[in-house]
Subunit: 234 residues, 2 copies
DNA sequence: AAAAATAACTGCTTCAAGTCAGTTTTTTCC
DNA sequence: GGAAAAAACTGACTTGAAGCAGTTATTTTT
């Protein structure tokens, strides 16, 4: 008997990348309102889009690029999630009681961000239930993915965490088994919660074991099945 | 110059316990709808309220007790958050695309849970924007607290993590500097992501250092300021 | 009230993973 | 295109924290 309905593992992939169309749920007037109260800004690679603790004045829509959402405190750095283009960022700061951004955002690659006035966004939430319902769903999906990352980083050791992130980059971010990393080894370290040196050692180990091929920034997954097993068993 | 407006640390307290009144935002008819489509169930200490992967048929309102929300997979156990009475549980499963519960819930103490039909809840979300907006805020606040826990568990070492959880239990759960723990040392281990033995050793160390007093299940925080410093510096 | 079971505690050992101090390779930029 | 800077990499060392194997203390059970 095939148990095909079984629940998938917690951390099959832990990074946010999907795109429910929220914009289409707005009326013509509401769309105009957003258009009038937003501007599109270009960011260069490595630039900071916003910092935790600043007043949240906008909701961000990533039109182009790759960014990280992270928490930092005295040189500790925790990446919560990555975002690719066509995703809404900063929804968490909608919370009325706390007008401060709950995380920082910075770019891995050149990016284009549409900044939408947060008051307008709030207004639309209050007046359009379907839109509001969709936003709840976006938040939920995101939260659930972050839980997966939380599990991965706290319950697995290096092998599993690195396998997780490689699968994730392949499946969600680059949608290909081979890709050019826009991230440094230190970035990968932040992403997997391990030291730069450990990333290097572990990547080499994976390469020696024939799991991946790798030369500097270019990576190719060779044995996805085995990587998934490593991810699963931690 | 006093920088009193500075943002508070990420993990000042990492467990969910607050209570925005969502019920009052419903109309008389809507309240009746909820009353008609919900039942209250008693759970004994240690019982499972629901399991990750099961179909999400209800939203839970904790009327009495203390429960943990957690992820488990092959004897790995990650506690996402604790809930005390008067809080809504299971909001994450509102996400329409995935009718499965994203986490498990079980009780630490005897508890009373009102189970609300999820379809009714969804209907109210769609028809009542203010209610919907309040629920978004609840979700956001919760998410933000879980980020704090995420940071604590991944970026701090044992001292900091234990200090975090002790402060949290004191501030949010028991609202007193001395309290009777309904959790075992093993539970504390799950909560802080450390082994039972390490919890014991660390607690003893805190006791020897005069940070806390402790005898079996009863704990008293003696030097909150120093605990906060330990929490902050990890 | 004694026996059984569970939880709390202790000391010793082991190991995963970080740190440090370099060398080599790749990228950047005048 | 060559010098300078930044990443990538390597090996040796250190350490935080888990695991193990046992003892003592608390509950629970009968």
């Amino acid at each position: 008997m095939n148990r095909t309905t079984e629940t998938k593992g917690i951390t099959q992939c832990s990074i946010f990348d999907f795109n429910l169309s929220w914009y289409e749920l707005l009326t013509k007037e509401e769309k105009m309102l957003i258009d009038e109260h937003s501007v599109s800004i270009n960011f260069k690679k490595g630039e900071t889009v916003c910092k935790r603790g600043a007043f949240a004045s906008h909701i961000y829509f990533l039109e182009e690029g790759l960014v990280k959402v992270y928490l930092e405190e005295r040189n500790k750095n925790l990446i919560l999630t990555l975002f690719t283009k066509n995703n809404l960022l900063g929804l968490s700061s909608l919370f009325e009681g706390n007008n401060k951004l709950p995380y920082s955002v910075s770019t891995y690659t050149d990016s284009k961000v549409r900044m939408i006035d947060i008051q307008i966004f709030r207004q639309l939430l209050q007046q359009n239930p379907e839109f509001s319902y969709r936003i709840i769903n976006l938040l939920n999906e995101k939260t659930s993915q972050i839980y997966g990352r939380f599990f991965s980083l706290t319950q697995k050791q290096l092998h599993g965490r690195l396998a997780d992130i490689l699968l994730c980059l392949s499946n969600r971010i680059f949608k290909s088994k081979s890709f050019e990393l826009p991230l440094s080894r230190a970035d990968l370290g932040d992403l997997t919660g391990m030291s730069t040196e450990s990333v290097i050692r572990m990547m080499k180990e994976f390469k020696d074991d024939g799991l991946i091929d790798m030369h500097c920034k270019s990576v190719e997954l060779l044995d996805v099945a085995r990587l998934e097993r490593i991810s699963e068993f931690g």
